[in-house]
């Protein structure tokens, strides 16, 4: 018999149907979730330096003021928003709300994520734009 299972099979197969809204939402949720975990580790390391090693912290902060890092932070914020809002969508389903409108809900929540992101950007723009 020809095996049709395992991680490699899963990746190849799911990649062919990623456009299905529910599948897309799951992939996006999983990828952003894992990225956020990596970010969390880095974040805890950096912030604890403020207490453990004052000078080191200042120098790390300088690197983070680099536009490249600022852009990275902004991307992570978007990741957090997308994950958080889809997390609300999934939790609503668990409460029995909205199951019949899952597709529309995904896109509506993504629009909200983008909107919040732009509002946040407008607020911090004076700081990051002004160096």
């Amino acid at each position: 018999m020809l095996k049709q299972s395992g991680f490699g099979y899963y990746v190849r197969k799911i990649a062919r149907t990623w456009k299905e809204t529910g599948t897309l939402a799951h992939i996006v949720h999983r990828v952003t979730g894992i990225l956020l975990v990596v970010y969390l580790m880095v974040h805890i390391y950096v912030v604890t330096q403020a207490s453990l090693n004052g000078e080191g912290y200042e120098s790390i902060l300088k690197t983070f003021r680099d536009p490249l890092f600022a852009a990275g932070e902004l991307i992570m914020i978007m990741g957090g928003l997308v994950h958080g809002l889809n997390g609300i969508r999934l939790t609503l389903f668990d409460m029995g709300i909205g199951l019949k409108h899952q597709k529309a809900m995904f896109w509506a929540f993504m629009v909200i994520a983008v909107a919040i992101w732009f509002v946040g950007l407008a607020i911090v723009w004076p700081v990051i734009g002004g160096g």
Binding site: S5, T23, A25, F93, G96, Q102
Partner: protein, 236 residues
């Protein structure tokens, strides 16, 4: 003209699957199953696939059509609106031959959840009567024809071979929702573990695959809430 690109695998001859194209000139009125039968009679008698009733009742003809699971017998070729149609076996389970997959894991899980009404009470003379009203709760899940379109569409099933999967979970819900069934606690215990309801990630693939339009995703969510309800009401 429609080109059918069919997944072929013969365990005696092939190491890897191959895809073979078959052209059918006039597909008017043909179902995917009709097309497969035409290919088998006119072009290649070695093609293997399962079917029986031709009317969406027996549940034996589910295959993957352009990446989505459906019954070959109730899918019109022209309704797909494609000039190239890729037909593959259901995903997730081992391929025995061409489009025929091994259903042993599916029926194994099905058997494990006691898929029949359990009642200790003395059977009445004729039948255990169910009211139309009470039956409404599980009208939809009772339509299941066990085609495995839902379970094999689930990516978790592809990597976690112990996960009960949507068909078995929906069957559990069908009996939990049945007022005549008396082992609700045992049924909820069957699904309250790492291979049951908590493994579902609400991707809706199963519900979208079901040819009987059973909302399997909703059934799993209902089961979860039933487990929670019991767990918290017991505590008082």
């Amino acid at each position: 003209m429609v080109t059918f690109r069919v997944f072929r695998f013969s365990p005696e001859k092939d190491k890897k699957p191959r895809y073979v194209d078959y052209n059918i000139e006039d597909t008017c009125g043909l179902t995917v199953l009709d097309a497969l039968k035409l290919i088998k009679t006119d072009m290649d008698p070695s093609l293997s696939f399962r079917h029986s009733c031709r009317s969406a009742i027996c549940g034996s003809c589910a295959v993957s059509v352009n990446g989505k699971n459906m019954l070959a017998c109730n899918t019109q070729v022209d309704a797909l609106g494609k000039s190239r149609i890729v037909i593959e076996p259901l995903p997730g389970y081992p391929v025995i031959n061409d489009l025929v997959v091994d259903f042993a894991p599916f029926f194994g899980q099905y058997r494990s959840i006691r898929p029949y009404l359990v009642s200790e009470s003395q059977p009445p003379e004729k039948e255990r009567i169910q009211s139309v009203e009470a039956r409404k709760r599980y009208d939809a899940p009772a339509q299941c024809i066990m085609c495995a379109a839902c379970t094999t569409s689930c990516p978790i099933v592809w990597t976690d071979d112990k996960y009960l999967g949507p068909a078995a979970l929906t069957k559990v819900w069908r009996f939990v929702a049945d007022s005549r069934d008396e082992i609700t606690d045992e049924r909820l215990a069957m699904v309250n573990n790492e291979y049951g309801v908590w493994r579902c990630h609400t991707m809706f693939r199963c519900a979208e695959a079901c040819p009987k339009e059973i909302d399997t995703t909703e059934a799993i969510e209902n089961l979860r809430r039933e487990v929670l309800k019991r767990a918290f009401s017991r505590r008082r």
